[in-house]
């Protein structure tokens, strides 16, 4: 990973990796960033459509951001404005899922001036991004731990949309909070139930049932309490492209939610058509892998938890996660550069030796910054 070089108050980075993290942290910390050498050696140099699209979305929820792009798009200068929030309508690029954009909003939403009410359109489920279902279950459950009153925090999927054309629609609502509370989350608990949603868009509705059958078959080896819904979407609700998929969640006795999902291949892109049975089995296996990784949050939502810990009140927070993902490691590094927070990381040793509880866990400890949302009016 390239680290920042400090030029005055501007943080300078190279390359397009961690683009979203850098912009989000830039907005929260108020420090401008300059990113250069974006895909300079590739056939299509510069920012991709989805990244430009992200900048537009961030511009919509902030006031007075300054964005400068060079001609080829290989260098960006971003000077963040004030986080405003409010009602936003945004058409996301189909190159990435809506989840890519939602994740950024989940991190920023609590610190806006006005409660965020964002309507995002685009691809709701794909292979490289967390789907909107995952944001709704895992990410929001992680976020909810950090403040008491979670009224008004909601993701509603009004339409689903798959690649290549998308056509999904998601409404994200997020309240504003003055500050976050520190947490001690050491025990993830045991998985007590598994829920899920299977969907079949613009294909035979029986496919959803075939997925459910197989996924259940795998999971019943471990737990009897399994219930998987089929989400029957009709007409406009099912987006513009055909396909099917499944989203599974495992809830533990301590309210931690692990998620996994699978979505069918895109036949019009030249991939082999997926078999519903395989999709079901793969999703179930992936959920078991997520349970194996464990921790007090889903592996996908580690960076949300890390951010909330760092920005919490000036008190010690402790949090146990599964093995850190590449994304979380990058996020820890960026947090140090933007906010100067260093986490204490160590392998978590439970009080008693218990075999068969998955991989080695990591304990994150940090003292919060005492970040307060200055824009929120005190009543």
């Amino acid at each position: 990973m390239t680290t920042a070089t400090d030029k005055g108050s501007v943080l300078c980075y190279k390359g397009s990796n961690f683009f979203r993290q850098r912009l989000v942290l830039s907005i929260l910390s108020g420090k401008p960033v300059r990113i250069t050498h974006i895909r300079v050696l590739e056939d299509e140099p510069g920012l991709r459509e989805f990244e430009v699209n992200l900048i537009r979305l961030l511009d919509k929820i902030t006031n007075g951001s300054v964005i400068e792009l060079n001609e080829t798009g290989t260098a960006v200068y971003f000077q963040p404005g004030l986080l405003y929030g409010g009602t936003v309508q945004h058409e996301c690029s189909t190159q990435r899922g809506v989840g890519y954009y939602l994740e950024a909003l989940v991190m920023l939403g609590l610190f806006c001036k006005q409660p965020l009410n964002a309507t995002l359109q685009g691809v709701t489920n794909n292979n490289i991004d967390p789907s909107v279902d995952l944001i709704r279950t895992s990410a929001l459950s992680t976020l909810k731990k950090f403040f008491l009153d979670d009224e008004g925090l909601d993701v509603k999927i009004s339409k689903r949309g798959l690649l290549p054309l998308g056509g999904g629609e998601v409404i994200f609502k997020c309240p504003v909070r003055k500050h976050l509370r520190p947490i001690h989350s050491l025990d993830s608990g045991m998985v007590k139930r598994i829920r899920g949603t299977a969907f079949a868009l613009r294909v035979s509705p029986a496919i959803a049932n075939r997925i459910v059958d197989k996924a259940k078959g795998v999971l019943l080896n471990f737990l009897p309490d399994i219930y998987i819904n089929t989400d029957q979407c009709r007409g406009k609700q099912s987006g513009k492209s055909p396909g099917f998929g499944i989203h599974l969640t495992a809830e533990t006795t301590n309210g931690v939610i692990y998620s996994s999902e699978q979505v069918s291949n895109v036949v019009s892109n030249g991939e082999d058509p997926s078999v519903p049975e395989d999709v079901g089995v793969a999703a179930a296996q992936r959920l078991l892998h997520e349970i194996y990784l464990g921790g007090a949050t889903d592996s996908t939502c580690q960076s949300v938890a890390i951010l909330c810990m760092a920005l919490g009140q000036q008190d010690v927070s402790k949090f146990v996660t599964g093995p850190l993902t590449e994304n979380a490691i990058g996020f820890l590094r960026h947090l140090k550069e933007f906010f100067g927070v260093t986490f204490k990381l160590e392998h978590y040793e439970p009080d008693e030796e218990s075999p068969g509880t998955g991989s080695q866990k990591v304990m994150l400890t940090c003292v919060g910054l005492g970040y307060t949302n200055i824009s929120k009016r005190t009543i």
Partner: protein
């Protein structure tokens, strides 16, 4: 990438170094670069045509491998293969993560009952 991840899981002991070590390394590299800079100016040429790639450039190339990777918060894409958890060997690694597995002795109802009886 998946196997690398699994390796890392088992081998690395010092997480702090893994995550934050990059800063120290970078500072050190900068020192090295300043030392080697005078040599770079008189770049060696092979046959008067091709320039030899200097070490600093090689390092940059390595950086380039990671610097433009697509960003995703997923640990791996959804369609990446995972182990088969139905085999006995893998099944035993996670079986106690479920309420159907063995509970901690402080929470296990049958253990607690035994304690009650003993009193």
């Amino acid at each position: 990438a998946h196997s690398a991840f699994l390796d890392r899981q088992s081998t690395n002991q010092n997480l702090m170094k893994l995550v934050y070590g990059v800063f120290e390394k970078n500072n050190r590299n900068e020192d090295e670069e300043t030392q080697t800079e005078p040599e770079e100016d008189e770049e060696e040429t092979i046959g008067g045509l091709f320039k030899k790639v200097s070490r600093a450039q090689q390092k940059l190339k390595l950086d380039k491998d990671t610097m433009n990777l697509p960003e995703s918060s997923l640990i791996q894409p959804w369609n990446a293969p995972v182990r088969d958890y139905l085999t006995e060997e893998n099944k035993t690694t996670i079986v106690n993560c479920f309420v159907t597995g063995k509970w901690k002795s402080s929470e296990d109802a049958s253990e607690l009952l035994k304690l009650d009886d003993a009193e």
